[in-house]
């Protein structure tokens, strides 16, 4: 009983962190970077001045990390819902299924910023230096917790 509550609660917390973290605690370049980049762009424009083609070359494009953040919102939200279901549903086989589903989501959490969508090119940008490692760590923890749940409920 106690184990179910702990596992479910941890999954909910992890899911919320994965979903909301890239927008708040360990933000991607997204909303904050739009301001930063437009500021640095205007600085650049002052330095390089009046180049029309240059302006076109420097026009803001959608960053890869923005897509990663959106994907993680979905993956994290899904993990949090799985955590809630883990608390509500009492059947051991169902909990085993929830464990497998959350493990698969954990793998996706790791793959979005590393392989599937990626983050920005510069290693010193926030999404590369903070968001990506944070998401990988949260993904690994989700995998470990889900793995523990799978092993526990498989034995029953």
């Amino acid at each position: 009983m106690k184990k179910n509550i702990i596992l479910g609660s941890v999954l909910i917390i992890l899911g919320l962190l994965i979903a909301v973290g890239p927008q708040t605690i360990f933000p991607v370049c997204g909303a904050k970077a739009t301001t930063d980049s437009s500021q640095s762009m205007s600085e650049n424009m002052n330095m390089f001045s009046e180049g029309n083609a240059g302006a076109a070359a420097m026009s803001p494009k959608k960053m890869a990390c923005n897509y990663t953040a959106k994907a993680e919102l979905g993956a994290g939200g899904f993990i949090a819902i799985l955590g809630v279901l883990f608390l509500i549903l009492k059947d051991d086989k169902t909990r085993l299924g929830i464990g497998i589903a959350s493990a698969l989501q954990g793998i996706l959490v790791i793959l979005y910023p590393t392989v599937l969508m990626g983050v920005c090119g510069s290693v010193h940008m926030g999404c590369n230096a903070v968001t990506r490692p944070a998401l990988v760590i949260l993904g690994v923890i989700t995998l470990l917790i889900s793995g523990y749940a799978i092993v526990s409920y498989q034995k029953k």
């Binding site: 390089f48 180049g51 083609a53 510069s122 290693v123 940008m125 944070a134």
Partner: protein
């Protein structure tokens, strides 16, 4: 139930398992200690590596930059900031005849516009291969021949997504080599020869960019910095003074002073880390000693019973030492794991936050440091338990059994 042979090791393991709360509490203290020692140590080693890297790679003894751009130059060298400032190329002629100058070269700074999606602008440094003594020695570690026209050498932090070229001002340039990470501004720099730099500027000009250093024909008349190597290091100050007298609107930077500014910051951080670790070790030794003595107080009867069952004092002592050793090793492993989760994946962020050259130690050093942490933490645990073990030898079984009645 599975039968177990009664050995010191098995007894120690069973004791730790049965006394879950006590074990967890002791482990928590040891884990925090190990995490602090390991995390603090890696942080310090990384800063020390960064300082050594700066010392090795500055190359020039004296650097001349335009007036009021000293801080910008430091930011380029140490933090990889993008910046550009220019002065007349005549500066070289003015200073190169000064006695004691061994080598002299110049560099031209230029920044990419960050045209590729999601890339920050990077510093592009143009150098003259025939006279350069600052960059080429390091490039030669990776690239044996001279850097060709229209190819670039990139710093350790520049990501080459397709593996062979990078895009600057909408033109592809072949990446001839990628340098090792140095923790300095070089990591975020693209190095090119002056011909490539001219091609880059032409490409940018065609796209409508205009440059602070003037039009295309002005490129040969402008430079960003003059790098000087002095034949006798004793003469650096004299030559710097002479340059100041012979030139106007120029900042004369002495490399030793740049290094010492980094070194001063590092020694401050080192002192803080050293004292914090010293206090921490003392606190943990005291806390663990108290914990073990308190635990011993609760286990008086258990120990007396073991003595009555025929277990010698030395065996009981060895059992307690084994328990402490296991807790020490386990706590050290947990602490190292927790610290590793922060110091390794977030190393770029930590380096950026500290604002000093930051190079993580290599795998061998890290491995040695892991072993060192385990030995230190386990040693602290063993020293702490020794006071409790000493009590066993002092008291007789009868006395122990009757205590507290």
């Amino acid at each position: 139930m599975r039968e177990r042979k009664i050995t010191i090791w098995n007894l120690a393991v069973m004791n730790l398992r049965k006394k879950t709360c006590q074990t967890i509490a002791t482990l928590a203290v040891i884990t925090i200690f190990a995490a602090s020692v390991f995390g603090g140590g890696i942080l310090f080693l990384s800063l020390e590596n960064g300082l050594n890297s700066v010392k090795e790679r500055l190359g020039a003894d004296i650097i001349l930059v335009p007036e009021d751009t000293e801080e910008e130059m430091k930011a380029i060298l140490l933090q990889g900031n993008t910046s550009y400032f220019y002065m007349s190329k005549d500066m070289i002629d003015k200073v190169q005849k000064i006695e004691g100058i061994d080598e002299i070269t110049y560099q031209y700074f230029f920044a990419s516009a960050g045209s590729a999606c999601c890339d920050m602008p990077v510093e592009i440094i143009g150098f003259e291969p025939d006279t350069d003594f600052v960059i080429q020695p390091w490039i030669q570690e990776k690239l044996k021949e001279k850097i060709a026209d229209d190819s670039v050498v990139v710093g350790g932090d520049i990501q080459v997504s397709n593996g062979h070229s990078i895009r600057i001002y909408n033109q592809e340039y072949e990446v001839a080599a990628k340098m090792d990470k140095t923790g300095t501004g070089m990591d975020q720099t693209v190095f090119v020869n002056m011909n490539t730099l001219k091609h880059m500027r032409q490409a940018a000009t065609k796209q409508g960019f205009r440059f602070l250093s003037g039009e295309e024909e002005d490129l040969d008349k402008q430079i960003s910095a003059v790098m000087i190597r002095v034949s006798d290091k004793q003469n650096i100050s004299r030559i710097a003074m002479e340059i100041k007298q012979k030139t106007k609107n120029v900042e004369v930077m002495i490399s030793e002073k740049i290094v010492s500014s980094v070194s001063d910051s590092l020694s401050f951080i080192a002192t803080v880390v050293k004292y914090v670790l010293f206090v921490l070790i003392a606190m943990v030794l005291a806390a663990l000693s108290v914990i073990y003595i308190l635990q011993m107080g609760q286990r008086k009867k258990e120990i007396a019973l073991l003595r009555m069952m025929g277990m010698s004092k030395s065996k009981i002592g060895r059992m307690l030492v084994t328990e402490a050793m296991l807790q020490g090793i386990l706590g050290a492993a947990l602490g190292i794991m927790i610290a590793s989760v922060f110091v390794f994946p977030f190393n770029v962020y930590i380096g950026d936050m500290i604002g000093q050259p930051y190079v993580q130690p290599g795998s061998l050093t890290t491995l040695l440091y892991i072993l060192g942490t385990i030995v230190l933490v386990t040693g602290a645990s063993l020293i702490s338990v020794s006071f409790s073990v000493a009590q066993i030898y002092k008291k007789e079984t009868y006395q122990t059994m009757r205590e507290g009645e």
